[in-house]
Each structure stands twice: as C-alpha cells, then as structure tokens.
Symmetry: C2
Subunit: 335 residues, 2 copies
DNA sequence: TCCCCTCTTGACAACGTTGTCTTCCATTGA
DNA sequence: TCAATGGAAGACAACGTTGTCAAGAGGGGA
C-alpha cells in the first residue's frame, strides 16, 4: 500500500463506453441538460457511480470559458484575527455559490500585492476581494477591461473606480469622543496609527470633528500619530501622563494601541478612561473598564462577497460604496 | 467605463502571430525550454509584454497533466485563531512552492468534510492537509489510489494510513500536572472536552499518567469531561468549588475551558491555581496568574505543509508521524 | 402516403496549452 | 561534392470537456 499504482482518473469517455452512449450524452447528463431519455440517463448515472467519475473542472472551464468557481481574497495577514474573520465570512458566502476561495497574504507589501493580484488573475478567478496595501491601484485596470470583477475592502483604492466596503470610521471615532466628552472629559489623549493609513486618517478626522463640535480645542501635545505597535502605544501613554496637565481619558485608534494603553494604565494603576477602536478577543476580560468602538467584522466580509457575486452574476451598475456601522461597547472587568 | 467591452485575453497564438513564430516556439520561451535562438526569444518576450499575455494555467495543466499549483486545507473554522494561524503557516510554505492554498471549513460536520474533500479532489489539487472531524476516513482511499497526497493535522484519521502531524498532547498534560503537583497541590480539578475528541482523550490520559506516577488517587468527583464551551466550564468550576473538600488547583483541557475557568475564578476572587492547555491571544493580560501548556501553532502548520510538499515532490516513504513539542508558560498578570 | 416537425442522439470541432515527431538548414568530415 | 550530424523551428495531435450542427426516429396533419 504505497499508493504508487495510480489508477488513471476516469473521463467522460470511460463513462460513455461503459454506459454504451456517446460522450456528449454523458456531458448532457452531468450538466442536467434536457433531452436525454430517463432510462439512458439512469445508465449513465450508474456508470458514473461505478467508475467514481468526477468532471474535470479545468477541462470544463477551459472549453466553456465560463466560471472557474474560484474567487480570490488578498489580505495582509491571515493569522490576524480581523482578516481571518473576513476570510471566513467570504468563504461562507462563496460556499453558497459553489465557489472556492483562494486567500493570499500580501504582508502590507505593495509589490507583493501586485504579484499576488497578477497570479490570481492568471488563474482566471471569477473575482477578487482586495484589502489594498499599496497606494496606487491603476495597475488593475488592464484586468478590469478584460472582465475581472473586484471589490475593495476596508480601504478605498486609488486610481481605479470600483465597489468598496468600509467601516464608518469617522462616525465611530466621533461617537467615541462624544461619549468621553459627555462623561465630562476635556483633556483626551489621542493615539493613532500612521496617517498614511486610510482608517487612521478617517478616525483622526472624526476625533477632530467631535472636539470641534464641542468647542474643545485641539491640543497637539495630546495627539500622537504614527504609532504602530503596543509597545509604542504604551510609551505614548506614559509620556502624556508624565507631562504637565495630563489627560483624564485616552482614545486609541486601533486595537493594538488599545492593548498597549491598557498595559501601561494597569502598570501604573492609573484610572484614566480609555476608549479604543476595534474590538478584540477577550476584551471583556481586560482587567479594567474600557469602551470599544466595535463593528461586525463578519458583516464586512459578507457584504464584500455579496457585492462581488452580484458583479459576477452580471450586475453592471455604477460602483457603490457600502458602509458598515459602528457601535459603542462597554468592555473590561469592573465596568 | 463600465468594463463591459471585455477585451479577449491574448493566447499564445496571438503572441506567435505578433512575433512571427509558431505557437510551439512561444511555448518553449514561456517554459524556458532550450533550443530557441536568443533573437527569436527576445521577439517573443517583446510580443508577450506588448499584449500582456499570461499563460492559462488550466489549459497548461490539462494538457500536461501535471501540477495545478494548488493545495487544499480542510479545517473546522477559519475564524478560529488556531486554524487561522495554521492556514497562514501553510500558505507561507505553499508560497515558496509557487502554489496557492484553498481553505475550506467543515464546521466539525463529517458529512460536510466529505463533500469538501470530494470537491477539492475534483479540482485536482496537488495535495490536501486535513484536520479530521469525522471518525472514519476510509472514504479517502479511492483518491489516494488515484494519487492524491494527504497529510492529517492535529488528529489522526482512522481507516487510512497517512502522514500525520500532531501536538504532544499527553506529554504536555503530564508536564502541566507534574508542575501543579510540585507546587504542592493534591486536589486538582480536571475539566476537559468530550473524549470523542482525540486531543481531549490524549490530554486526559496524560493527566492520569501524571497523577498515577505521583501516587495521587484519581478522584472521579474532580474530573468533568464533555465540557464544550466557556459557560459550561465556568459552571463546572463552580460546582467543584461548592462541593466538599474543593480543589486547590484546576487543569483546563483547552483554551475555551481555560477562559471559562478564569471568568468563574475571577468572579469569586478564588485563588486556586490554574493550568490550561493551548495558549490564546492576550493570555498574558488575564487578570490573574495562570500556567499555559503552549506549543508553536505555526510550526504545526509549517510541518504539515513541508511534509505535503515532500510527498508532492515524489517522496514515497512509509507514512510518518511528526510530533510538535509543548512547553509550560507562565501567563496572566500578577505572576 | 408524404412531408414537416419535434425529440434524441451522436459526430466533430474547439478551448489554450504542451509532447512528439518531422522538416529544414547549416555545418562537418571524407 | 555529398552524406552524415545536430540544432532550431514548426506541424500536428492530444488533454477532457462542451457548443454546434446534423442525422435519425417517431408522430401528426394534410
């Protein structure tokens, strides 16, 4: 039993020979085309069962030029729970369309993203969902002209007009700041990721809008941008708390920053309020109260996939933007 | 710009016409086959660039009968961080082999797992990595005979001999219990998942071995099996603590159980020691000390993928078992 | 009875690529 | 000068399937 004797896979010709019909008749049975006498069809089905025949989808889609029953998803890192949830949701929708999902990670590298894009197009996937890492996506145009369908997720592309599904970043940040203002906070430390990132830009814009709306001045010493990891976030929190007139509340622009802030606040036993964008696993078990600006990540993936399959199904309407709402969640222990 | 004008994709025939050579010459250039004069090859490459030609991999693998440059991964749920990490690791290895990964979720449904398996075989993937949900995998034999390569991950299959990559469950559990015993605990509450699950069985066996080795009697009132979610785990902890002669330590058979146990212990402010199998995100931020029996999840996926590509590469040695070691980690705040 | 129409069924080509075999040309040695 | 040799290039078939079209059987109406 070393599996080396490799029986050849049966083809429709084998089935046809066994059932005593032509290959075309077998093809008709396989594809449920009308115009085959039931008794013949039964014979074909029996032969299929006996031989263990399965249609070769490559030959099929080569000849018919139709669907490959595959879509692609280009994300940054599948090991990141956010993207994993998106991928699971997309795969779920794909399954209802008898379609498989190929997921590739670009690791935020625009050049790799381009290569992955090209590879997936070469494979003739029926469509692509892309979380854009690079800043210019004009290179996708040639493929769009050749019929490739694309939906962008979480961030808008530039250089190309296409469907897009995003979170309501600005509104979420506004709501988070308004919530802090209503609790009486006037000095709010704001820590966000690099403004090169769309979501960080939008969220910071929401923060400024909310502050301006309440007549609270925007104090540069209370804003840190370009914070990329929990350690840096912790240092930023520490620096603000150690400064003169420290903030009584913090706004964290994403969950990595939130985690870093929690760590530093717990270390110090500081009671400052904390509101952070993006929920994360076990946020409700964090050892202090916090407010999360959350949203349905699954819904994000699902909406993108649904849109993509509408396109694949022939929808040629003008590209649309789908916005997934956010909501405030009280998390952490002692809340 | 509604993308309806769908330019036909160029084929090697188009390239050949443009370069003034035969299709076979183009094929030779594409595949780096020898025997093409450099000046002709340059002309072909120029034509490829001008037309934006890309080889159709379906036609290619249909004709040559070789690799589809695709492997499949069958897991329970991609949204689960454990499986997401495995998938990312497998995709990483696949990438070094210029291969794409199709990931499908079976949701622990053996029937769905069978269907997913059949679908992926139908696609002629080069190989499959399977986290088996069902209890009988004899149905995979027909495909193995036709040359399908498979590696099983995390749990062994039954009814088929194949490569397998698993965690050292029993040794990990033994080490966890020995650690508690050395800290002086003699009454250890043990909470594990259903013994229908291989990992739960193995871990429980490790627990018994460690207890027996230390001469500590196995007390049925301190063992709960078949615990499936954090809520049930919390109730199990509560019941044991409320009984007579409550345990001074708990062993949790997986991270869902660990989380439920933490929740209940924190709610009560109970100081019992806690050791749990499987690490999880932010375990170091849990509001109490705990010990984790951890392992390298990436390594699990990587090892399986490496084995699979060895098989795809032609390795026909006897199926082997790869065991990934565990290690004890001190986690939680206040450690 | 004959013609037309419908319904089954099959023969054949085509999808885009690659394996096999042949052809052609230049070069070499006698 | 001519046969032998070897390398480059192309003609053709084949992979497994499906679209197109034609052939044949059977039925109904004139």
């Amino acid at each position: 039993m070393d599996g080396r004797e490799k029986r050849r896979r049966p083809t429709i010709a084998d089935v046809a020979a066994r059932a005593g019909v032509s290959v075309k008749t077998v093809s008709r049975v396989i594809n449920n085309e009308p115009g085959v006498r039931p008794e013949l069809a039964d014979g074909v089905l029996a032969a299929i069962g006996e031989l263990g025949f399965r249609r070769n989808p490559m030959a099929s889609s080569l000849r018919s030029g139709r669907s490959t029953s595959t879509i692609g998803l280009i994300i940054e890192d599948l090991a990141n729970p956010f993207y994993a949830t998106v991928a699971a949701a997309v795969a779920g929708v794909a399954r209802t369309h008898d379609t498989h999902l190929i997921t590739v990670s670009s690791g935020e590298d625009p050049e790799l993203e381009r290569r992955q894009f090209a590879e997936l197009c070469q494979r003739r996937v029926d469509g692509l969902i892309i979380v854009p890492a690079g800043s210019d996506h004009a290179y996708t145009r040639a493929e769009v002209e050749m019929g490739m369908r694309m939906v962008f997720l979480d961030r808008p592309p530039s250089g190309i007009l296409a469907d897009i599904v995003v979170i309501d970043n600005a509104a979420g940040a506004r709501a988070g700041i308004v919530d802090l203002l209503e609790a009486g906070h006037r000095r709010i430390g704001v820590i966000v990721d690099s403004p090169a990132i769309y979501t960080a830009r939008e969220r910071l814009a929401g923060v400024r809008e909310a502050l301006a709306g309440a007549g609270v001045p925007y104090d540069d010493s209370l804003v840190r941008v370009g914070v990329a990891d929990p350690e840096e976030a912790a240092r930023a929190v520490a620096a603000m708390l150690d400064g003169g007139d420290p903030p009584t509340a913090f706004f964290a622009g994403n969950n990595r920053i939130t985690v870093g802030a929690i760590r530093e606040l717990c270390r110090r036993g500081d009671g400052a309020a904390l509101t952070g964008f993006d929920d994360f696993e076990l946020s409700s078990l964090m050892p202090r109260p916090l407010t999360i600006i959350g949203y349905d990540v699954q819904e994000l993936g699902r909406a993108a996939a649904v849109r993509l399959f509408e396109r694949i199904g022939g929808d040629t309407s003008w590209p649309a933007e789908t916005v997934v709402p956010t909501r405030l969640l009280r998390r952490g222990l002692g809340q």
